[in-house]
Symmetry: C2
Subunit: 248 residues, 2 copies
Amino acid sequence: MPKRPEVSAPRKAPGLSPLYRQVRTLLIQRIAEGHWRPGVLIPSEMQIAAELGVSQGTVRKALDEMTVENLLVRQQGRGTFVAQHDEARILFQFFKIAPDTGEPVFPESILRACVEAAADAGEAAALNLRAGAPVIRIARLRSLAGQAVISEYITVSAQLFPELGHDGALPNNLYAHYANRFGVTVAGGRERVKALPATAEDAPLLGLEAGAPVLLIDRVATALDGAPVEWRRSYCVTESCSYVSLLR
Amino acid sequence: MPKRPEVSAPRKAPGLSPLYRQVRTLLIQRIAEGHWRPGVLIPSEMQIAAELGVSQGTVRKALDEMTVENLLVRQQGRGTFVAQHDEARILFQFFKIAPDTGEPVFPESILRACVEAAADAGEAAALNLRAGAPVIRIARLRSLAGQAVISEYITVSAQLFPELGHDGALPNNLYAHYANRFGVTVAGGRERVKALPATAEDAPLLGLEAGAPVLLIDRVATALDGAPVEWRRSYCVTESCSYVSLLR
DNA sequence: CAGTGGTCTAGACCACGTC
DNA sequence: ACGTGGTCTAGACCACTGT
């Protein structure tokens, strides 16, 4: 954090981002570089403020923003923790399929395939790789309440996730695995949703006739620095569940 | 705003919400009751603080929250304004259909029907009315870049929107009309998205064969107090556009 | 009890838009 | 020049968690 030359009247260098944004950027780096792992308690506001030579209020504003972005979790009386990709968070932030009656639940997964390949044009574009770069392709069938409702295809860079799934088993909660095993924190993403006829491959998996309408959720997930790290296409039966979005 | 008995050490009554939340609630009431209409400049932070007997910082925190909720728009050097439902805001907050190539645009509308009727079970449940209550049903066909892509069905309470559309023409931007003509501010909503086969009624409107997949966006829009005020079902062709959602 | 985040206040200066 | 929101600081007390 830049030290202020003035004694009692700190000034912001013109053209620079506000102090609290600089603090935020610095703290995000600490998470991205693995100094602060998911789940750990970070220093108190006063400690961070003293270390960086800014006031507690400035640190607070940075922490508040990061809390809104789901990067931190604050607990009064305990402290501030780096957010983890536990199922509750994913249900809230990333998994927007909810049953039409009843509470949202985290889906089960059956791994259908996990192979290494060369990136095709779509994969290269989505993940910002050169065509032909090594990627890992995963296919899963996911169930809610015992019903297979999602056929999912995932592509990631084999360079970023070396030997992902080579041990045969992949955990159901992939984003926690990305963080714990590879130090890659998924922080956000962009989904494009369409209605399509079920393909000949997916229809039997989902108990449909070929051509029946399915919901495609096309997601590019991004890391803390905004770089794309996963391309996921989920084909969903929306007979008794929906893609839910809150407008706020 | 509750006056504090203490002279130099304001206290919060136990069990009450924080002061800035009470300020927020009070300011939202002023908008909901029409004292502050959409688009108007509200008093400065210092004026509100003086009027309510709280500090400027407390007012600021309330205004900041309302800005995040898209209820206010702040402009440095000018002041704070009550948010309007202009096309830019709707495009950002409510209309999540975007073309797969190119920038989002606000759709054109052709009014197909506008009739008064008695609420059926679904309408009563969505709008929190008793079955049989008077409602107004609207059907529109909406286009992007000259292509009909959305067949839309809207239901509102006839009590809340008396004689809506009785003059024959309805503006394309309905939410601005709700606010200007009826003083009802749409503040949020919840959308449930499904993939369905096109009905015999919608398919020809959208240039599809009956049974072709369409995207259903089922939206209940809510007013400032959280009460449901509009039920909207949009059937979309997603051949060259998508329902876009940012995960943050 | 000590330590944490949460709230509230007060005052200073900066950046921007208007007159 | 003036008033606005935007940033930064400093210090107080409250509410909660753990010992």
